[in-house]
Every structure is written in structure tokens, then in C-alpha cells.
């Protein structure tokens, strides 16, 4: 979806799994990039949020992954693709409050079962696919509304 639109920017950013040391690094980069493109604050903030939650998921659960950013005149598209354990029951994983996080992850204030819900709520389009033992693929699209700058 939306992939037929000509991109004005496209790039891929690697995300390290198993460590939080650089978590938030890609979201910061993407936020700065979108800001420079003069995209509205509201859209930039939503894009930063869905990217951040995706990064945290890769850091928490995957061996490695990447965030792909594609910007068209109408949309910001973000994909989070990881190599990892995958999700056994996507419906369950999408339930607010459900989490398979370890105690260590929870102590840091992650793993409250809110990440995927946040991603869904802050995107205009969201799709999740996963293959056990292979990895998970999230696709988020945020519409660039030029007239609205809510926050």
C-alpha cells in the first residue's frame, strides 16, 4: 500500500537487537530528518513515536533489525523489519497490557504491553506480520495533512 507513490526520501537504518544502548537513536534521526522537510510537528511526533516503539521492540525481542523510512508528498511510511523469534499469537500481542517482557525489561519501564497499541493508535495505517523463528514486520503509514498541525 502507498508504495506506488514516488518517494521524496527513502532510507534504511539498522537497529541492534538485545541492547538498549542505542535505543531511540533511529527515532531521533528520523525526527530531525522529517523536521528538516518542513513536515508538520504533529506528523513528526507521531512518526517519532511509532519509530521509537518499534526500536524498543527490536531491542527487546529481536537479534537484529532495521527501520525503513519512505516519505512521499502525501505520506510518511515506516517499516520495522526484524530477524528474531517472531510473535506466536498476534491477536494476543495486540491486546493492551499483554506482554512477554522479562523482569529486566519491565524494570526499565518497558514491557507494559502498550507498545504495539501505541504504534497502531498513532498510525493512520498499520499492518503486522510475523513468522515464528524468522521475525516480525511492521508497516506504519502516517498521512501528511498540510492543513492540520494540532500540537
Amino acid at each position: 500500500m502507498f508504495s506506488h507513490e514516488p518517494a521524496i526520501y527513502e532510507n534504511s537504518f539498522p537497529v541492534e537487537g538485545g541492547t538498549y544502548e542505542n535505543a531511540g537513536h533511529v527515532s531521533s534521526q528520523i525526527k530531525a530528518l522529517l523536521k528538516r522537510m518542513k513536515i508538520s510537528k504533529e506528523v513528526v511526533r507521531r512518526a517519532a513515536l511509532v519509530t521509537y516503539e518499534s526500536e524498543i521492540n527490536i531491542c527487546s525481542y529481536a537479534r537484529s533489525g532495521k527501520i525503513v523510512l519512505r516519505v512521499t508528498p502525501e505520506h510518511v511510511m515506516i517499516e520495522a523489519i526484524d530477524e528474531g523469534q517472531g510473535i506466536v499469537d498476534i491477536e494476543l500481542a495486540m491486546q493492551e497490557g499483554y506482554s512477554t517482557a522479562t523482569d529486566r525489561i519491565r524494570e526499565m519501564g518497558f514491557g507494559a504491553g502498550m507498545g504495539l497499541c501505541n504504534i497502531k493508535n498513532f498510525s493512520d495505517f498499520f499492518r503486522i506480520t510475523s513468522e515464528i523463528g524468522k521475525g516480525t514486520h511492521l508497516k506504519m503509514v502516517i498521512r501528511i495533512d498540510k492543513d492540520f498541525d494540532g500540537i
Binding site: 502498550m114 507498545g115 493508535n121
Partner: protein
């Protein structure tokens, strides 16, 4: 009201981002769950938490918070401090428990904005 007013009144110790104390504080947010803070806090908020690891800097930076107050004598981890100094995110520490910090910050913000909304 700017951050410096709150720092002085509550006698907070500023450990990073001293150069940004003139920033205006628009509101406050309280939470230790990062996804909750990501979803519900707003630009210009002063974030009150007891999380000390470096991801708090990323959250405050992504959400354009005015700063972070660590309560109950919590100290930022060394890498948190490095990152906050590099990114210019103000972190303040205090020995006060959260309840007291939140109440005092709330009152300061509420009285500056007009009558106390709780009355």
C-alpha cells in the same frame, strides 16, 4: 513559567542541560512506564519519574519535554548523564518523594495559569 523558577522554588539540583533552564514549562507529566509517557505527555511538559536509565533522555528529547525531575534521591546512571549533557536535556534531582514534587509543581503551574483547577 520557566524551568528556572521551578528549580529555585523546589531547590532542585540541576545535573544536566543547565543551558536550557530558561525553557518555558507548559505542563507536567508523571510516569515510569515509557510507552505511557511517549503516548500521553506533551511538548513543554516537565516529566517527573524515578527511571534513571539512558532511555529517559531519548523519550524527553523525542517528546520535546522541558526537562526531567528524578525523585526520591534517584541519580541518573552515568550513561544517562552523558547523553543528557550531549543532547542538552535538563535533568534535575531531588530527595523529595514523588507525591510532594508533583503537588508542588502542579500548584506552581496552576497558580501561574489562574485559579487552582482543583477548587
Amino acid at each position: 513559567m520557566n524551568l528556572e523558577d521551578i528549580v529555585k522554588t523546589l531547590n532542585l539540583r540541576v545535573v544536566s542541560g543547565e543551558e536550557r533552564l530558561a525553557a518555558e514549562v507548559l505542563g507536567g507529566y508523571v510516569g515510569d512506564l515509557l510507552s505511557d509517557v511517549m503516548a500521553n505527555s506533551k511538548e513543554g511538559d516537565l516529566w517527573i519519574t524515578r527511571q534513571i536509565h539512558q532511555n529517559i533522555v531519548a523519550v524527553a528529547s523525542l517528546k520535546d519535554h522541558a526537562g526531567i525531575i528524578l525523585i526520591q534521591g534517584c541519580k541518573p546512571a552515568a550513561d544517562t548523564l552523558d547523553k543528557a549533557r550531549k543532547e542538552g536535556i535538563p535533568i534535575m534531582v531531588t530527595d523529595m518523594p514523588g507525591f510532594e514534587v508533583i503537588g508542588r509543581v502542579y500548584n506552581m503551574l496552576a497558580t501561574k495559569k489562574g485559579p487552582d483547577p482543583s477548587t
